[in-house]
């Protein structure tokens, strides 16, 4: 495995160490070294937002802790849920007295732990609401949206919830606008290579040269179809079609787009992909009002990309445009 590592079993501890050393003015650990919060947390009088999940997805999840984004993150081992205890530490450290939103991806382990943490937080008198990112169209058919996994689209939810909270919204208001965004959010991805979890030392799955898997999950969960690696434009067609159909996007709708690299795929390829995405949407009279391209949710060095579309309304645009700043991302 061609990795810059020391002890693979200390991968997460060491990378957190590096992050805390690099960004001491912006981040701090709340007791538990896996509970990372804004250095200035809690922000009294502001709804706080907690997230969390497995490691190996930077800038997800830790990279979105910052002003106008989320207040704290519980960090798990690679591709594994953090503990409820870490989540509780985060919750207590960020609570500013107006309640805490748990905003995270729809994975079994994370759900169990966040639910348990919410139970423990309630014992401590902290009001908790929960929204789960479930934007991956490929992970369950239409009608079963609640079973879907959460992938790169959560970036938009962080931005929107974070901006609403920063603007002084109540927990109920933050939940309402974030749920509306979540209901209008879809992602579809393609994997071109596996990655290697350091402690495991072998690829998460096998994918022969010249093949791709449409809809594969970011931990190697099976997708909707494996086939010959298609040209970029055909991949764009397939991703856009799936999202349009699922989201019932029609002429006159306007969207924000996120073209996300999974790790090894160069930015150059993301722009080639977007070229066709934009063309397809224009043909259908669906303007792309905002677009971000780059690495927003990765799987270590997996090759591949995902496309996220968010149907916009005026309030969502305003929240997307609000300032935000973390050590990993600046609006």
């Amino acid at each position: 495995m061609q990795k810059i590592l020391n002890d693979p079993d200390r991968f997460v501890d060491e990378l957190l160490d590096g992050i805390m050393i690099a960004h001491p003015d912006e981040l701090r650990a709340a007791g538990d070294p896996r509970a990372i919060v804004r250095a200035d947390a809690p922000i009294v009088g502001k709804v706080a937002i907690a997230t969390g999940g497995g490691s190996g997805h930077l800038p997800l999840f830790l990279g979105y802790v910052g002003a106008g984004l989320v207040d704290g993150v519980a960090v798990g081992n690679v591709f594994a849920s953090p503990s409820a205890d870490t989540m509780l530490e985060v919750t207590k450290a960020i609570d500013g007295g107006r309640g805490v939103l748990y905003l995270y991806g729809n994975y079994g382990g994370d759900i169990m732990n966040f639910d348990l943490a919410a139970e423990l937080a309630a014992d401590d008198g902290i009001e908790v609401a929960t929204i789960r990112g479930a934007d991956d169209v490929a992970s369950a058919p239409k009608g079963q949206e609640r079973r879907r996994r959460g992938i790169a689209g959560i970036f938009f939810l962080y931005k929107i919830a974070g901006a609403a909270a920063a603007a002084g919204a109540s927990l109920a208001e933050v939940v309402a606008v974030t749920e509306r965004a979540a209901a209008n959010l879809r992602t579809m991805g393609v994997a071109l290579s596996p990655c290697i979890v350091p402690a495991a030392g072998r690829p998460t799955f096998e994918l022969p040269q010249g093949e791709m898997e449409i809809g594969m999950g970011i931990h190697g969960e099976p997708g909707v179809r494996r086939g010959v690696l298609a040209p970029a434009d055909s991949i764009a067609d397939e991703l856009v079609e799936a999202i349009l159909a699922d989201l019932d996007l029609a002429a006159g709708d306007r969207v924000a787009a996120l073209v996300n690299g999974l790790g090894a795929t160069p930015k150059e390829e993301l722009y080639i992909l977007y070229r066709q995405v934009h063309r397809l949407l224009r043909e259908r009279s669906i303007p792309v009002d905002r677009v971000w391209l780059g690495e927003f949710a990765t799987s270590l060095e997996m090759a591949g990309a995902s496309l996220t579309l968010l149907r916009l309304d005026d309030e969502l645009v305003r929240l997307l445009d609000a300032p935000a700043r973390s050590p990993f991302w600046v609006r």
């Binding site: 594994a80 503990s83 409820a84 169990m112 732990n113 348990l116 139970e119 190697g220 969960e221």
Partner: protein
């Protein structure tokens, strides 16, 4: 009389020996860490127990659950923690036998796991061992069986449930992505539940006060 704390300590000690077996079983269709998780959780609970000497049973279970959640934050660790905390909130009813009380607490534990993990019987999880065990405990309560007999029956039912997982398709968690890999093997978490019950039954029945 055997204290609850003593039984828990005994189970924790017994589980230490199952580390490799549980890792191996979890490795078939999971990530192979269940033994590690169980060892870490057992050690943490063992270390905590002396502090809890003065707690009543419910608080004892809740504190152990809390500790497990901290020290063994995997799927099974969290679910068993949830179960202990839920069971710890069950209080005895007037005139209830120990067996009836334990059966009721076990049933609450089952429901809490099912709810938190969004899984049901037949999904090839620890529930497929716990479910039959709860049924056996309830049958024991209905027939007035002693807690020792009821626990032995529950352990046997759990072991049978484990065997049944060999032919089940995994529906939740990691193993569900890898359908097929599990075929023919027993589920690791179910085996863990069976081992816990066998150990508990053994610890209780070895206690002089419980001998018939």
């Amino acid at each position: 009389m055997t204290t609850l704390s003593g039984v828990i300590a005994g189970v924790a000690e017994d589980l230490a020996g199952a580390r490799d077996e549980l890792n191996r079983l979890d490795g078939v269709a999971g990530d192979g860490d269940l033994g590690v998780t169980v060892a870490a959780g057992s050690a943490a609970v063992l270390a905590l127990l002396p502090e809890l000497a003065d707690e009543e049973a419910g608080a004892l279970l809740r504190r152990c659950g809390r500790e497990l959640a901290r020290a063994a934050p995997s799927t099974s660790g969290t679910l068993i923690a949830t179960a202990l905390m839920a069971a710890g909130r069950v209080s005895g009813e007037p005139g209830e036998t120990v067996t009836a009380f334990v059966a009721r607490a076990a049933s609450v534990a089952f429901d809490s796991i099912s709810e938190r993990g969004r899984a049901s019987l037949g999904d090839r999880t620890m529930l497929d061992a716990l479910g039959p065990a709860v049924t056996a405990l309830e049958a024991g309560a209905a027939t007035g069986a002693s807690i020792v007999d009821a626990l032995l029956a529950a352990a046997a039912a759990a072991a049978a449930g484990v065997e049944d997982t060999r032919t089940m398709e995994p529906k939740v968690g990691r193993a569900a992505w890898l359908a097929g890999r599990a075929a023919g093997n027993v589920d690791a978490g179910a085996q863990l539940v069976a081992l816990i019950l066998r150990s508990a039954a053994g610890r209780v029945s070895r206690d002089p006060d419980q001998r018939p």
